[in-house]
Amino acid sequence: MIVSPDEDTISAISTPIGIGAMGIVRVSGPRALAIGARVLGKNLSKLEAKKAFYGFVRNPETGNLIDEVVFLIYHAPNSYTGEDMLEIFTHGGLVAPREVLGVLLRNGARLAERGEFARRGFLNNKMDLVKAQGIIDVVDARSQKALFTSVYRLKGEASETVVSLKKKLEHILISLEATVDFPEEVDEEEKVVTDLYRVAKEMETLLKGMETSRRLRQGLKVVIIGKTNVGKSSLYNALLQEERAIVTPFPGTTRDVLESQLEYEGYPVLIYDTAGIRTSSDEIETISISRTRQAVKGADLVLLVIDGSIPLEEEDEEFFYDLKEKGGLVILNKIDLPEKIDRKIILSYGFPLMETSALKGWGIENILKKVVEMAFLSNIDLMLTDREANYLEEVLKHIRGAVENLNTLDIVGHHLREGVSQLRKILGEEPILNLTEEIFKNFCVGK
């Protein structure tokens, strides 16, 4: 598609990923300012064009702060693309630009295709072809390079899974089309249904892989939980090798959720310290507790800290619900002190247990090693770039759509056609499969 359809508003990160102190996220299209207004919480159309403004990007549903930003607006046709545009300067690094892009995509923008900004500029008469082509080439080169020089070691063979998924979907689609076009000679309806179910199941694996790949791109969210005074903040500091959180001998020290980023062997990890939960009526504490709950909700893994120098309490045991839900490790802390705890009870929950002394720095490296192993290494066969992940998510939506509509093959056909064409795009093939050709190749039809 070389022409931007109405209402089609695109967005992308325009700075190299993970490099530099600043990220730029661009939005272009007829709804750029409307979408911007939603996430910035401001009416943009009244602002002066091409002037820098200060603001906050928030999730419009929850009101949660995503990033503190500077932004500029442009009115059509006086912009790079010739359309309404919004440029958001975010914090640098890995997380901020992606989260900002994410919220834009969830609020009506679509991820730009490679070189699409330049192409739109060209189509709207903002630049000539030579220039547009130059820009497209650079973009291409950059994403190629990004793949190889990325801070993380991506396993380039993502495509094997994608190729096999594509083949399966194509096959189902061809059977379906042959069935509806030659209902008197071909009846593959049952096969279509069972094969679709099978693919939908296999999707689970794929989803896991996508999850891993998301973590690789955005950082693994590890949340430290446990009752008060067990040494959560001490552990947080030990993991970061920095005194970030306040540590005191008094219970209830930590009141808010703290977030920090670290890298272990090249894998990005986001660590969260939380307030210890205990039954209380203190208002600040109630707020703290709800913040903790929210952090746990967004966690990929939790580390449940238990103080080994005192007997296990009911308050400790309540945290096992979170551990069950999210997965993770039990950290038996304060092992420099005499042990007073009954390990059997802890072990009976069946989670891996690691011993540490946050105070002395014992066993810290082992935790990171174990966490990375659990989150990344078990699903390493599918590593995707943003673009691929985005297409793949579309594909999964279509597989789900197909499964939900099994009683009307025309709708199933629609979803499969769309799904297959997304997969072909990921693999850089022509988006349209010549169905007629395939039907004749695969089925004996006709009088």
Binding site: M1, I2, V3, P5, D6, E7, R119, F122, L123, N125, D128, L129, A132, E177, T179, V180, D181, F182, P183, E184, E185, E189, L406, N407, T408, L409, D410, I411, G413, H414, L435, T436, I439, F440, C444, V445, G446, K447
Partner: protein, 617 residues
């Protein structure tokens, strides 16, 4: 002065619709056919409709054509296929009485004012006077008579240098035992047209008194169905067809004689339709299949002949008999007419515009099998387009073309004229990008207003259309105004277990249905077609609106027009394939250009850039 403004050569399904359309647009038209007793003949399967084809028939009907009406008057059986697979692929299929169909077709021609008939073989069509707007053609018959016209529609089917073949025995033939047209091809070449050659084939016809129906599955018709909204309800009794299967023994006999098949034992071209393989080809292409279905279809109410669908064959007649007798139910079968193959000359369809006028010969149109398609419906669909455009041409008006997002006819013509065909082309629903929107049930809503604007749609048909539109709006307003279970009735209807009315077809697997017309009896005053239309529209709303968005993208590309670039000798940056396509096929829009084989998106950009720069000069 010309004798007739328009001359249609051919009385097949293409010629019939073409001549009816141009005459109904009040342009005097002469239809010439080699044998008027075979007008509207169905040389192959006596069947009309099926997936892809039914949509064409409904579209022809919506535009004001005849095929649906002829079918309703003459079918021996009608059924709905794909009933539980969704409205977008649901398709009517009928079997017609061959002789009755011909009679009704000829009668329709004879009833039409401004339309004259003439029997004779055309041997030459030449330009007496060239001209972009007002050319004059001379059409010459074999006996030397001449007729002058302003426009010609070529609809000669499989007749051009047709050769019938049964194994190594061959005979000149248009089809069946009719004479071919052996002279016209050369005259077409003189006009500057490019010709090529395809083949096709048909099955034996057998004596229905010699088959054992006990050994076959019976396939009855369904009551209450018809193609055209203009037809009165059809209540006549229907004839069943029968289903049986080939056996391993059948396959063995075919294999033993493969070397005798026409394409192997002679120099016949091998460009036949792959969706309709001969039994010989089935053995070679699908050797692992243990059986193939065989359908026995009656050829009419007053004949014992049956068509043997699945047994397209060109082996010697006595071997055909041997093969048939291995099929359960046919041990004692007798053949009345053997199956045969035929090869014939046709036009390269890339020479045509979407109006079906030949690009380099203004006033000269072509339609039907002669353009590389196969099938009665495909022929008729092109016929009506060529007929309309020949009339518009004579009247000096802008041409009429349908696009891929408007109709199956649009897809058919666009495939022919931008992609070209490598084998006889058959319409299929899988060729259609916007299948959820282009359905048989809404063909009238899509096309009748266009047909009306062309003055082809009668008052009666237009009234039915307007009534349907009004009733649909009424029902939708009603649904939006009533509430049930905390939502509007309109949204409630979107649930899979809910349907608007009790008839129609429910999706597979849904057992308990909530039928709105039971509690809201005011709905019962509407016809099933209208209720079904609303049902589909509401349930598919989300999908259809997404498809509409893609259709808008498509139109945007179609509207980027390419001006005459003939003075540009070289366009820098175009791929060599892109440049070749641009030069030889002269696409009208960037969209059309991008659909041509070998053209890349990059080529589209380059060309657009070039067009812009020219505008700035």
């Amino acid at each position: 002065m010309v004798d007739y403004p328009i001359i249609v050569i051919g009385g097949g399904h293409a010629g019939i619709e073409a001549a009816l359309a141009s005459a109904r647009l009040k342009v005097p038209t002469l239809l010439i056919a080699i044998n008027l007793d075979n007008v509207g003949w169905t040389p192959c399967n006596p069947a009309i409709g099926g997936p892809g084809k039914a949509q064409l028939v409904k579209e022809i009907d919506a535009l004001g054509g005849e095929m649906a009406l002829l079918t309703d008057k003459t079918f021996t059986q009608i059924r709905m296929l794909n009933t539980s697979r969704g409205p977008a692929v649901r398709s009517l299929r009928s079997q017609i009485d061959r002789i009755l169909y011909h009679r009704e077709a000829k009668n329709a021609l004879e009833r039409t004012p401004q339309l004259s008939l003439l029997q004779g073989e055309v041997v030459d069509t030449s330009l007496v006077k060239k001209g972009r707007k007002k050319p004059i053609f001379r059409v010459t018959l074999r006996d030397g008579r001449n007729y002058l016209s302003q426009a010609v529609v070529l609809a000669t089917g499989t007749y051009l240098k047709g050769v019938g073949r049964i194994s190594s025995y061959s005979y000149p033939s248009g089809r069946g035992m009719e004479p071919p047209a052996n002279y016209l091809s050369d005259s077409l070449r003189k006009l500057g047209l490019k010709l090529r050659r395809f083949n096709t084939g048909t099955t034996p016809r057998i004596d229905g008194r010699t088959i054992d129906r006990e050994e076959m599955a019976i396939q009855p018709g369904e009551a209450g169905l018809k193609f055209s909204s203009l037809s009165p309800p059809v209540t006549r009794e229907q004839l069943p067809s029968y289903l049986t299967y080939t056996t391993l023994e059948t396959h063995q006999v075919v294999r033993d004689h493969l070397h005798l098949t026409a394409s192997r034992s002679t120099d016949m071209v091998k460009v036949g339709p792959r969706y309709c393989p001969s039994i010989e080809e089935k053995m070679v292409w699908f050797p692992e299949k243990e059986r193939h279905p065989v359908f026995l279809e009656p050829e009419g109410f007053t004949t014992v002949e049956y068509y043997v669908q699945g047994m397209n064959i060109s082996l010697p007649a006595e071997i055909q008999l041997k093969i048939l007798r291995t099929v359960p139910g046919m041990k004692k079968v007798e053949i009345i007419r053997p199956g045969y193959a035929i090869d014939y000359d046709l036009l390269d369809s890339l020479q045509l515009q979407p109006t079906l006028m030949v690009k380099n010969v203004p006033g000269f149109f072509a339609a039907g099998q002669v353009n590389g398609t196969t099938g009665y419906e495909e022929a008729a669909a092109q016929g009506i387009i060529a007929g309309i455009n020949s009339a518009l041409f004579v009247m000096g008006e802008e041409g009429f073309a349908l696009k891929r997002d408007e109709a199956y006819i649009g897809v058919l013509v666009d495939d022919l004229t931008t992609k070209g065909v490598e084998e006889p082309y058959r319409m299929l629903t899988s060729r259609v990008e916007y299948r959820l929107s282009l359905r048989q049930d809404n063909a009238d809503l899509r096309l009748t207003p266009l047909g009306r604007k062309l003055r082809l749609v009668s008052d009666e048909r237009y009234k039915l259309y307007a009534k349907k539109v009004k009733e649909i709006e009424e029902i939708i307003a009603f649904l939006k105004g009533k509430r049930k279970k905390e939502t509007s009735l309109y949204d409630y209807l979107k649930r899979p277990e809910v349907s608007l009315w009790k008839g129609g077809y429910s999706p597979a697997g849904v057992k308990e249905r909530d039928i709105l017309a039971i509690s809201f009896t005011e709905l019962l005053k509407y016809s099933p077609e209208v209720l079904e239309e609303v049902n589909t529209r509401v349930k598919y709303e989300g999908y259809i609106s997404r498809e509409n968005k893609r259709m808008a993208d498509f139109r945007e590309m179609e509207n980027l027009l390419i001006p005459d670039l003939s003075e540009d000798t070289v366009i820098q940056g175009l791929s060599s394939l892109g440049a070749a396509m641009l030069k030889s096929r002269k696409p009208k829009s960037i969209g059309e250009f991008l659909r041509m084989p070998g053209v890349s998106p990059q080529d589209g950009l380059v060309l657009l850039d070039r067009i812009r720069k020219r505008k700035q000069l």
